[in-house]
Symmetry: C2
Subunit: 65 residues, 2 copies
């Protein structure tokens, strides 16, 4: 997630209730994110599996380079 959005989400939901994945750095999790339905980042995957794409930052294609 973008840092600003990350802070907003953590403040709203609570740090213990959300897992932060910096997909550009943790590249071994790109496949997992795509399987979850993440099309762009930042995104928030909800407990029931919905994906909220937030403030379109970069496509997964851009992240994968």
């Amino acid at each position: 997630m973008c840092i600003s959005v990350e802070h907003d989400i953590v403040n709203l939901i609570g740090a213990t209730n959300v897992e932060i994945v910096h997909i550009g750095e943790e590249r071994n999790r790109i496949a997992e994110a795509e399987k979850a339905g993440v099309k762009s980042v930042p995104a928030l995957v909800t407990p029931n599996g919905n994906v909220l794409h937030i403030n379109y930052g970069a496509s997964m294609a851009d992240v994968k380079g």
Copy 2:
């Protein structure tokens, strides 16, 4: 907000911590939303004034018709 996104946000943040505005119905609040920086809906305005645009649904121009 779109109903699905609305439910996700309420589940994550808690119904008492978020005000739901259906901007297509509460047209007298369009100006307030635009002033807050809402460019498209659904969107979440955080306590510190940031705007998280979620799953780009419709532009404010579309809402205003």
